[in-house]
């Protein structure tokens, strides 16, 4: 019983601490925006370095969806709807969620490990000694970089999955769906609000992943075990939060 209470207490304390930390980051954002070079550097590590995994996964997801969709749609004689099947699935769900999961594994874990190691090697306290605010200098630029990168990566993922290298390659070139039908059905069914929903989702996921990874890194125990635990829990918590939040957002924007 007392153990249960302490688990609950730990959870609430962690959540409260994380919320205060988020507010601290948000307060530091305007100052961080004055140093675009730091953000640029993080954009490179967080965004550009994630590009390859996103492009390749997007392409494969497009192929898989085209194959699976074709199999199901053939039983209804509705293979003409293959394009919209791929596009709707990718734009509404696959692109934001899969990109966020991959991003949490690729960039979120790296951020947590980097910040955790900075803490373990006393770099953060060294900055404080030199009157440099580590929140402004280290945390905020990374948070902003995650926020900018994830929506862009989501859009790239979606284009790769739907476009000529992805679903189009399998659907049109391999399975013989008419090219005009493929695009025509997409144009007829996918509306602007689908794209906007997708971008809103990925922006929310960006906030969540950025928040979790910098929090886990910043509050990691300053040991090698602590850093490894921070990295693991970043990926686990980010992934769970992303799928849970995705359900909430989908229900919220459902019509």
């Amino acid at each position: 019983m007392s153990r249960n209470r302490s688990v609950l207490g730990d959870f609430l304390r962690g959540l409260g601490g994380a919320t205060f930390f988020l507010i601290t980051i948000l307060r530091a954002l305007p100052g961080a925006l004055l140093r675009p070079r730091l953000i640029l550097q993080q954009l490179y590590y967080v965004g550009v370095m994630s590009l390859i995994i996103i492009v390749i996964s997007g392409t494969f997801v497009g192929w898989i969806l085209a194959l699976q969709g074709f199999r199901t749609l053939t039983t209804f004689g509705a293979t003409s709807a293959l394009g919209v099947f791929v596009a709707a699935t990718v734009i509404r769900e696959m692109a934001p969620v899969v990109t966020a999961l991959l991003f949490a594994g690729r960039a979120g874990s790296a951020l947590a490990a980097e910040i955790g190691l900075m803490k373990a090697t006393d770099q953060l306290s060294g900055m404080e000694m030199m009157a440099v605010d580590p929140i402004k200098r280290v945390i905020a630029p990374r948070f902003i970089a995650v926020l900018i990168s994830l929506p862009l990566l989501t859009a790239i993922f979606a284009v790769m999955a739907i476009g000529w290298a992805g679903g189009h390659l399998i659907g049109v070139d391999l399975l013989g769906v008419d090219q005009g039908t493929y695009w025509g059905q997409i144009h007829a069914q996918i509306k602007l609000h689908d794209v906007i929903e997708s971008i809103i989702k990925s922006a929310c996921f960006g906030v969540v992943i950025g928040w979790i990874s910098v929090y886990q890194g910043y509050f990691a125990a300053p040991t090698s075990e602590g850093v490894s635990r921070a990295t693991t829990s970043t990926v686990v918590m980010s992934s769970l939060t992303v799928v849970g939040l995705d359900f909430v957002l989908t229900a919220f924007m459902f019509r």
Binding site: R37, L40, Y44, V48, A78, A81, P151, A155, Q189, L192
Partner: protein
Amino acid sequence: MQSRALEILVGFFVCIGVAAVFVLTFRVASQDHVGSGGIYEVTAKFDNIGALTRGAAVKMAGVKIGSVKGISIDPKTFQAVVAIDIDKTRNDIPLDSTAKIMTAGLLGEQYIGLEPGGDDQSLQNGSEIKFTQSAFILENIIGQLLVSMTQKGKDSDSPAPAPANAPAPAPAPATAPAAKAAPAK
């Protein structure tokens, strides 16, 4: 990492990201407006519009010429009043054209198909399309079919107290996609 190369790589990343957003917005998603030369509005009354929604396409010979602007109900006749926006460049549609509610493809949405008549006068802003054909509702057809089948059975067999209307509420929602499957022709 040289700072110049860093800037170039990040710039490249942001460029293709923004380009992907643009592709999704303008190439994949359809825009809501038709053409660019303005629109005019006509109305049509239907007994039943089926699953027609606001924003549905209005097509003539398969070419999109407008969209459904609004749907309301006539308080006197209890018919559905559909307001239709038509591209202003298509201003020579005969006044006695027929508006039919049709279904695009197997799983497609419903749209309004216009069949041109032979009148010299053409539709203008505010005019009403007189000839309309309602949506084809498979549930009703199946219900009528089942009723007629049970009725036939009752005539030939012994006068069992077979409730003739019992199978009428048959079509479960599972048949709803099938209803769209058979285009109303």
